[in-house]
Structure formats: structure tokens, C-alpha cells
Assembly symmetry: C3
Amino acid sequence: MGTISISTSESIQIVDISSKVQSIVSRSGMKEGLCVIQSTHTTAGITVNENADPDVKKDMLKGLSVFDSDDYDHSEGNSAAHIKASLVGPSVSIIVEKGELQLGTWQGIMFCEFDGPRDRKIIVKVIGNGNM
Amino acid sequence: MGTISISTSESIQIVDISSKVQSIVSRSGMKEGLCVIQSTHTTAGITVNENADPDVKKDMLKGLSVFDSDDYDHSEGNSAAHIKASLVGPSVSIIVEKGELQLGTWQGIMFCEFDGPRDRKIIVKVIGNGNM
Amino acid sequence: MGTISISTSESIQIVDISSKVQSIVSRSGMKEGLCVIQSTHTTAGITVNENADPDVKKDMLKGLSVFDSDDYDHSEGNSAAHIKASLVGPSVSIIVEKGELQLGTWQGIMFCEFDGPRDRKIIVKVIGNGNM
């Protein structure tokens, strides 16, 4: 199991972690299988989105503001962050072939901070049919 | 493959099933790999969220009400439940190490009922690199 | 690894690909494990939803329109599609037993086009504990 540590700098922020995940896949020696990337937090999630225009990240954070509200009960005041993290999802699964994450041209693996800035930990596991 | 049966008591309700999932992982004898927890329904999903303050669950259900509407066509009248279940997702994948689900301190595996009360079935599979 | 090619005909459209995925599972010879179905695009995703009444698909597309907005910055003008794809998710994991996808009665695996019509590619991998 590999670990990625991230320190976010904004209250809401999307960070491309694709190259860090690929490094873990490469080190694992696994050539064929599945890579699971998992957030260990409840106000941050993992998804896939465009890796090119940074405006896509900004727009995604803007779009998710439909869940912002003053009408929540949780005393910490970060319920919107919990909702966004649960919807984006705690983990994402990407297929591995020939030792490479099978991402499309524009796909990047995105860590989504919804209640930063914080120090965050992501865990990564490669499951496969052996070191073929 | 393990099975978890749940009878929900509310129309919308979030239930922490982490300990039931851990029991299945422990019984499987698998020490290292991946655990997939899957709803077999189209108006209920699985995600991860905070396991401490119950208000987080209530707020999540409240936040998802942005999808409630009188403008849907499906004759059963539960389209919002279908949408919420699809967005939350039918399954979640959690990494397993040393026989333990690798959940963060505040993470719990949550069954999300969106069209209850009903009897629900969740299936669980542990995939791994052997009983190491 | 199997591949499914789809040419969508609408700007937003949901297509049931369950039987195509089952064909790949059957061809793999894998009897027990996990099937991962992954979109290789950033404006299309994969989820599970009802396979019966077509109105459920229409209502889901309608419900997701809460993310439509004129207030996005991405110059291609398809930010809502990126957001929907990230929320629905790039991949879905379904348990396999006895060579069959373990879908509930009403569950279908749905390819979700959010920026069509386009030619799309889905990749499918079966990971398991051998050809038992």
C-alpha cells in the first residue's frame, strides 16, 4: 500500500495527483489489474476530471456550491464539505495495463479538498493478477 | 461473498454498516486487498461519511434534497431517490491491510436509503493477494 | 481488458451497457471477483440505475440540470458536463459470482453522456481469485 500526503492551501481546492499515483503503480511492479485511490477523510474526496484547463477545476468547485447552505445542523459548520466529499466519493478505481494507469487523454485523478487548508492523507493499493 | 440485510425505518435514512462490513472482512481471512460493498437496489446507495455526529447524516439528506422536484415523469414518483442513489453510487471500494478496513478516524461506511422504509440487501466481496 | 465502443446520438443521454459488460465477463472466464467498468472521458461517466422505465433515465438527466449554469469560466462551455461526469463517477465496480455480474433485479450499468453526441470508449476489467 502506498501513501500520498498533501497539504492543501485553500478552503476548497482540487489537486491533480495522477503522477504521484502512477509512481506508486510503477513501484508496485504490478503490470495488470486495478488501482484504488482512497481518501481517509470525510471532508475530502477523490474523482477524475480534466487535467488541462484549470478553469474546469474552478468551475467544478463553483458547481458544487449548490450544496452550500446556512440551514445545516452540524455544529462544526462544514456539512456542505461532508456532502460534497460523499458525492464525489471516498475512492476511485482505475484499470492498470502494462504497468500504466489507463486514463483517457484528458483524465486526471483529482484530490478534492472541501474543508481546507489541511494536511491530508491518501492511500493507494494496486490489486492484480500478478507481476506479469 | 457476504451479505448484509437491513430493514430501514424512514423514507430517507443513513445507516452506518462499518462494523458489519468489518465482520465479513474478518471472516474471509483475507489480510490484504480490497473490499467492495455494493447495494443491489436502485433507490439506495453506499458511500462513506462521518461516523460521529448524527447531524452530519441529517444534513447530508437535507443537502441532497436539491434533487427533489415535482417535475419528474417516472410514474412511481421516486425519481429523486433514483438520482440520489446513482450519485452517491451503488458501491464503494475500501482498501484492506492486516485484515482491517483502512478507514480514516472519522470515516464510516454508510448505507443510504432514499425510498424507504424497505428491506434492503447489500453484498460484500473481499478481493486480495491471498491470505498473507 | 475489454473495450466497449458507443456512439451517442444526443447531447445528454443514458445508455444501458449491462449486456455488453456481461459478455466481457463471460469471455474472461473469471467466475468470482470484481468487474470494473471505466469511462475514458471527462464529460461522460458510469453509474447504476433502473433498467426498466425509460423515464428514470430522462428524470436523472433532468435532475442533474441543477448543475447547468451560465456562470462558468471554462472556455469550451461544457463545465456542467465535467461536473456531472465527476459526480456520477468515472468508474463503477460490480461484484461477480459464478461468472455473473451481481446486479439487483432493477439494476443496469449505465453509460452517461453529458456532452454528446460523440464516439465514446469504455474499458472493462475483471479481477478475481482465479477461474474457479
